[in-house]
Amino acid sequence: MSEDEHFISPAEVRHVARLARLALDEEEVGRMASQLSAILEHVDAVRRLDTADVPPTAHPFPVENVLRPDSAVPCLDREAVLAEAPLAEADRFRVPRIMGEAP
């Protein structure tokens, strides 16, 4: 296999950073490209594994939906929770504009 398979370009790093909502400066983009490429090379054994008849494991033990009785119980105090927010207003978290112009 070619070494290129593990190569992550700076453009791909910028794309993934956008998906992850992570602002990276140019130096970080360059370093991330080489480090992620090295990590991908290291985990390649997993990618090349023959797993034709192997089911995936998402969780160490079988888990099912866990439901509690449908009765009202106290939850965290709203004021106490909002007090920890960077910005709150009228019992809500306040954020900057969400709707932007179309990209």
Partner: protein, 488 residues
């Protein structure tokens, strides 16, 4: 720089008995810990915060209960320290990250409330690699913790503060979290006992999530008996954690001194190839258990070597999802921007350190369109292969032994710029994490430089009782000087 042995801790059960009887006060045990903090914290940097005033109030409350004739609990007056990713109501919980600096959780983790109910006294929150990602505490935003055995070396990680605080003789019991080895590896590097329980045995409610299918909380102590008691107190079903096992917690203390006669013990050859001091310790541990009456054989389980690469896909994938909540909206840091998406990205870019960013990027990549099946899907199947291989091995063995770590405590700076080298620290500890099995590190030897070497005992799911029995036998066979506490 050589550490000297420190006086042994009074055992947890002796502390509780002295405090419950009124013979000694919780305040007196707390004072010892606070005095030791004054002496050593400048060198060790175990803590993100020492909660002196709250601790004094908590200790006084324990003593008041005793005077009132009430039962103060099985850990009455035991000073305890908690990794700073366990939520403590009204006490800053940072995960050693700038992004959570100053945040005051509005609730206690279940582990915290169980410890309080048992009479333990919380003395502070311990340092960690940011969001529990790392093997040295060098990824803490607040500076590294130093190893009490040699201040030039790392204590391991990510629960390095919780390991050093016990190894340095400050508190006899602490708790950390272990996702791929973050309790066992620092326990080994600091010459103490560290236990990762079966997944689901201890509630994760209030543990700030890193990789939810792997994270477990567990104890650090200088002796197997103290670790067993600490685990016993926090174990058991919790309706607040839907992955908590709904069954009675195993009794770890009743059978602790029953020995290993008749047990079948496997030495995992796949981790014994490099002839290092850590490998020699496992071979010696096998001989000691054979002398104590166990049947000891070697076993090859090559699938376990898939653990490391599978983990470094699965854990970052889960982390990238879990850490999406740090978006500058509900808690912690916010860096403003003209719109919410820019605010989110700037907040995260400024608030997270390099290793956390790397794992978020790796995880996002592995989950992104076009790569999901090749990386995340394949890693989940590799996880199945690891679990199946363990199942086969446990048909022939009651417990397995491996080194806890490939090497002893390493000098600061020697791995921090090379992520792969740092990830290799978890080679032997990851397979049990992927399988959800319990594992414990027991201090067993000192290397040629006088640094501690740990041996790891692995058991199948809910096999804690037999695992701790074997750990107790190893402890009995190990030289006293191989374990803490020490004074740097």
């Amino acid at each position: 720089m050589t550490a000297t042995p420190a006086p042994e801790f009074t055992s947890l059960s002796e502390i509780a008995s002295a405090v419950s009887s009124g013979r000694l006060s919780a305040r007196a045990f707390l004072s010892q810990s606070l005095e030791r903090i004054r002496e050593l914290e400048g060198d060790l940097h175990c803590f993100n915060e020492v909660t002196t005033e709250k601790a004094m109030a908590d200790a006084d409350e324990v003593d008041r209960k005793v005077r009132a004739g009430l039962d103060p609990g099985p850990l009455a007056g035991v000073p305890v320290a908690l990794k700073d990713n366990l939520c403590t109501e009204g006490i800053a919980t940072t995960c050693s990250s700038r992004i959570l600096e100053g945040w005051l959780p509005p609730y206690d983790a279940t582990v915290v409330s169980r410890l309080r109910d048992a009479g333990a006294v919380l003395v502070g929150k311990t340092n960690l690699d940011e969001f529990a990602m790392g093997s040295s505490t060098e990824n803490s935003a607040f500076g590294p913790t130093r190893n009490p055995w040699d201040l030039r070396r790392v204590p391991g990680g990510s629960s390095g503060g919780s390991a050093a605080v016990v190894a340095g003789g400050i508190v006899p019991l602490s708790f950390g979290s272990d996702t791929g080895g973050s309790i066992r590896q620092p326990a080994a590097l600091c010459g103490i006992v560290g236990v990762k329980p079966t997944y689901g045995l201890v509630s994760r409610y209030g543990l700030i999530a890193f990789a939810s299918s792997l994270d477990q909380i567990g104890p650090f102590a200088t002796t197997v008996a103290d670790a067993a008691l600490g685990l016993q107190v926090v174990a058991g079903h919790d309706p607040m954690d839907s992955t908590s096992l709904d069954r009675p917690a195993p009794d770890l203390l009743a059978s602790l001194s029953e020995g290993v006669s008749g047990l079948r013990i496997g030495l995992v050859e796949d981790f014994l190839s490099d002839g290092s001091e850590c490998v020699e310790a496992v071979l010696a541990a096998g001989e000691a258990l054979a002398s104590a009456g166990a049947t000891v054989d070697k076993v090859t389980i090559p699938e376990l070597l898939l653990g490391l690469p599978a983990y470094y896909v699965i854990a970052p994938a889960e982390a990238s999802s879990n850490l999406s909540r740090y978006d500058g909206v509900r808690y912690g840091l916010r860096v403003d921007g003209p719109d919410t998406e820019t605010m989110n990205a700037r907040t995260r870019g400024k608030g997270f350190g390099p290793e956390v960013k790397r794992r978020i990027m790796m995880g996002t990549y592995a989950l992104s369109a076009g790569y999901y099946d090749a990386y995340y899907g394949q890693a989940q199947k590799a996880r199945t292969l690891v679990i199946r291989a363990f199942e086969a091995a446990y048909r022939n063995f009651d417990v397995l032994l491996t080194p806890t770590t490939p090497s002893v405590a390493f000098p600061f700076g020697s791995k921090v710029d090379d992520p792969i080298q740092m990830y290799m620290c978890d080679l032997c500890s990851i397979p049990s994490s992927l399988a959800g099995h319990p594992a414990a590190s027991v201090p067993f030897a000192l290397n040629s430089e006088g640094l501690p070497v740990g041996v790891q005992v692995l058991a199948p799911a809910l096999g804690e009782a037999v695992m701790m029995r074997v750990a107790a036998s190893l402890e009995a066979a190990a030289p006293r000087e191989a374990r803490g506490p020490v004074t740097p």
